[in-house]
Subunit: 340 residues, 4 copies
């Protein structure tokens, strides 16, 4: 142990260190820091032993206010999974001036590309016709295109304009669509500056041919889309759902897709894995995806690089710029597990 | 018949007038022009009778030099299908100052969106995982993403940079990819002005993770991609084929995809419909599409609007701007049917 | 003389060969072609002697139908100056299948950058405050900015959407302005596809804070902007004039700028040079420019490269793509000198 | 006084409330909040009296740790001028969880447009030729353009990539330039994600035809550009200086511009106003601007709107998104006035 190197606690669960660090970035981490690796040995005594000299924590071990008080040099808590679990006292972190950093931006491009891929699939029947082809029942040219639509010049609605919404919007720009956004956390002027139209939930649903559900779950957004909302959609709308299942009432969604009211592509499910005998599996107008939008190798590896970059900045007395600074006001709202 | 209206011959086969003209655009056509409708009555005498006063032809009836010489007022021949058949003497058209106009631009956006959708599908396994889900064998999160790749920041190769290549490139801009283009008909400076890198066929194939085949067929481009070319591709490349089947040697392509050398999405086939028992139908790494990239309702309807717009300009003594002026040098190269 | 090389007649006046060809591009020209250089020896007998074997003409020597008939191998007439003079029989060129090519695109970017620079100057008083500073009368911070306006989010009107309009619009995109275009030669759908709003002349003038005059002169566009049109402008409009002086009635323009109705930047003048004692020279709200928008070294050198690229394509049996194919319908409209 | 409305202290000096609030936004402010207006009555007792119930402060009155401790409900300190003066204890603000918000983003677009205008001026000699015209010594067409250069396809260097750099880069995108950035506070990956090339100061200076100085002043950046740095510039470079005078050694800059080594446009000066007899006033290759880049009416009015938007968010328990959260690490570095 080189006492001159700052100490970093690595406890990435439920993320895995091997996924976010390549051999190269892991080597840089080890070279720059004394790494207290708790990934495979989660003995609380080792954490306690490291806290007094810890400069940063990668992951989210149990850190209540009392424990945090024993980490006077702690400057950063790097969440490398995506969800802020309530086993950390984030208020205490803010009180101590510890940066609470999230890795959401690392997933945003992957989610945006997947969402666009799903939208183009249901715009053009790509997987449906692929299946037909495999059965020997494919259509050719115009015959298979009766319900195909262009994204260009269309109306697009985004529910949520955080990392995901902004990353997706960037990809949508050359499609010259009219993009309406519903995001109650953002002022109209902020949305207009980003080149989208602020709108109410009702306006978005009524006036969009493509609807992307990109909202995070809070008490306010649970079942944001239920029966009355789905009834606002025009016939033939294409709905892409890639953020959180709890935002949508699936008991209202699935029957409507099954009877052809609109087409949908769904990446998140209220229960994962979906029960083997779930009736949704037979729906023709649905494209199925198993929570695969964000978790691709390129996204995971970006997390490791972001951690390295931001710890370096913080060590130099500069603010982090690559991970997302978790807002004190919001980090508590995301809680979905009890504090240990 | 109102003698003051210019005469337009309508003989759209193999296109259909009902597909390219909505009731609204058809009404405008009828209002502005005396329409000699030969769609359902192809008696050559009616064509002959109309030629002396014809201002424009929509479609491609048999028009040899002799016949064209009897159409001294003819200003435009509007091809509304996409292929220039050799039953028209295009040299004679050019000699007479008749605009030979193609509808390729009407399809370009539809093809570009389909090509991007196919690319994102094989980048992320969208239809493959949809099929797995329907079988109850889906993977979740990272498990289904081991071979998923980002388009952003990737290397992209375009074979051909005509209407299709330009329309696709426009959609690719926000992905910040390095885009190499092989197009022997275009000078390097032209490509650089469009923000892409001119490259040889070999360079494109060696250095691209995504390869889009967008070339038209001429004597030069037949089997442009055969065994030696496929062997230049890096393992795991994603190949999207949306232009013309003749550009590719399928006997070399399909076995390579079958054994997992790379992934492919194929919209055009040497024989359409593909034989029912064709062995390709079982290949897992292939996404199948039945020549559906361009022929969607929005594209067809745009053709009708483009015809109206350009006939109006020509009637006002202005050059056409919406359809594509067929280059004298190229129109002959596309021939694929004997002159009648 | 290598008889195997095609013959190119070089008679660039009023352009100069040394301006459009660098030593490098001139060397390529000489290597590929037998160059009959008439720049400094304009003896008609040398032209006559070369015509029977001429593949291309660079420049615009006197070419009436009779002469053209003695040039059966002529494939291209490359105008390297910018104006199509009437000493060439363009109808005869088209009849013979000779490409009539213009170099307008080579100037477009230079003009667009100059026009944007002029617009930002009058938006922010750049040259006005520079003059004040030199006199020791400058203002600081807000004091000098009372009439400064943002281009971002503004309303912009373009009169004309040819090469210049498209090049300028490309630069305006990140300013998120509402761009209205008046161009009677272009259908609404064409303009909408380019992301601008088609509008009448009156709408453009009434609703734009920035107005760019980019129209060419024809019988129709002479004095397109006269008293009644200027009266439609809102107080404080910024007017940029970079195309042709004849489009504007200066006797109506200048007094309005002098009395502060609006600000203007003017690059073209009815009489050039402007008379030394012209009263306009004292107007404070005017930015003066001496027909300098397009003629910069980079533009001239691009012309030489474009000529080389297109002659190469034509020689290979391909259509030109870099110079602008002069429309049969338009080339005659630009005439401004009598046929010799 | 409506006790149900939150209390906002307004003490905008050296900014003026009338400049940042329109009658409309001022009315909204008064309606939503109890405004304690200290703009024209700066009696410390009124501030003291308001602190215990203050929800937000607009401006920067003297707020040491002691005073802040008497403001337990304070949630936001909105700096509406642009510089963080050291009469506030920012550490104490962070310790109390008070948002320290800056208005830098409100100026960014104005500065970017001015910087681009200045760059195009010195690229094309706009103000120089305007002056010549007024003297009756103007040049026409190519004669006045011998040193004119295109921005398109050029090499551009940005020193600093904060609000100003990003806003300017956005405007530069359609110019297809190679953009190198020197910013020691930002990791390479962050810059690459924004589509620019990370580079050392030396690389930027050696390889850029256009150099924009956009850096803030800290101990590290003072005289970042002095003699040795200027000597790295290629002859004929165009230098635009719009951020802070202290970044540049004017005694080295001005003589080089005077003798024609390169061209420059300068908006900030070590001493403002510049002494009347300052020799720089006679330099031909300089464009003079009196600290006018950011302070335009549209920027000022945006500040008022941003304050309203963010106070509303904070009041709703959400994080601010329009003003810039001042990083704890940086806010102290900007100090340029002694603590009162």
């Amino acid at each position: 142990m080189n006492p001159s190197r700052p100490t970093v606690v690595l406890r990435p669960q439920p993320q895995s260190a091997a996924r976010i660090f390549t051999p190269q970035t892991r080597a840089v981490l080890e070279e720059r820091y004394e790494v207290v690796d708790l990934e495979h040995d989660d003995d609380p005594r080792r954490l306690e032993e490291a806290l007094p000299r810890a400069f940063a924590v990668i992951g989210q071990p149990d850190l209540d206010r009392d424990r945090l008080s024993r980490a006077p040099q702690l400057r950063a808590l790097c969440n490398v999974e995506g969800n802020f679990f309530p086993n950390v006292d984030y208020e205490a972190c803010h009180d101590q001036g510890i940066h609470v950093l999230g890795c959401g931006p690392a997933y945003a491009q992957a989610v945006a590309e997947h969402a666009l891929g799903l939208a183009l699939d249901i715009a053009r029947g790509i997987s449906r016709e692929d299946r037909a082809f495999r059965r020997g029942e494919e259509s050719y040219v115009a015959a298979g295109n009766t319900d195909s639509v262009l994204l260009r010049g269309s109306t697009v609605g985004l529910l949520g304009f955080g990392n995901l919404g902004r990353a997706l919007h960037r990809l949508l720009v050359p499609f010259d669509a009219t993009v309406r956004v519903y995001d109650p956390w953002l002022p109209d002027a902020h949305l207009r500056e980003h080149g989208v139209l602020p709108a109410s939930l009702e306006e978005v649903l009524r006036h969009s041919r493509f609807v992307f559900v990109l909202a995070t779950v809070t008490a306010d957004s649970e079942h944001l889309l239920a029966g009355p909302q789905f009834d606002l959609l025009a016939p033939g709308v294409r709905l892409v759902l890639v953020s959180r299942a709890a935002v949508v009432d699936y008991d209202e969604l699935l029957p409507r897709v099954a009877r052809g009211d609109f087409l949908a592509a769904v990446d998140v499910w209220p229960e994962e894995p979906v029960p083997a005998d779930h009736p949704a599996r037979g729906i023709d107008g649905l494209v199925f995806s198993g929570h695969r939008a964000g978790g691709i190798p390129a996204a995971f590896e970006q997390i490791g690089q972001m951690v390295l970059d931001d710890l370096d900045l913080i060590g130099r007395g500069l603010p982090p710029v690559r991970m997302q600074v978790a807002a004190r006001e919001l980090v508590g709202r995301y809680r979905n597990r009890p504090v240990t």
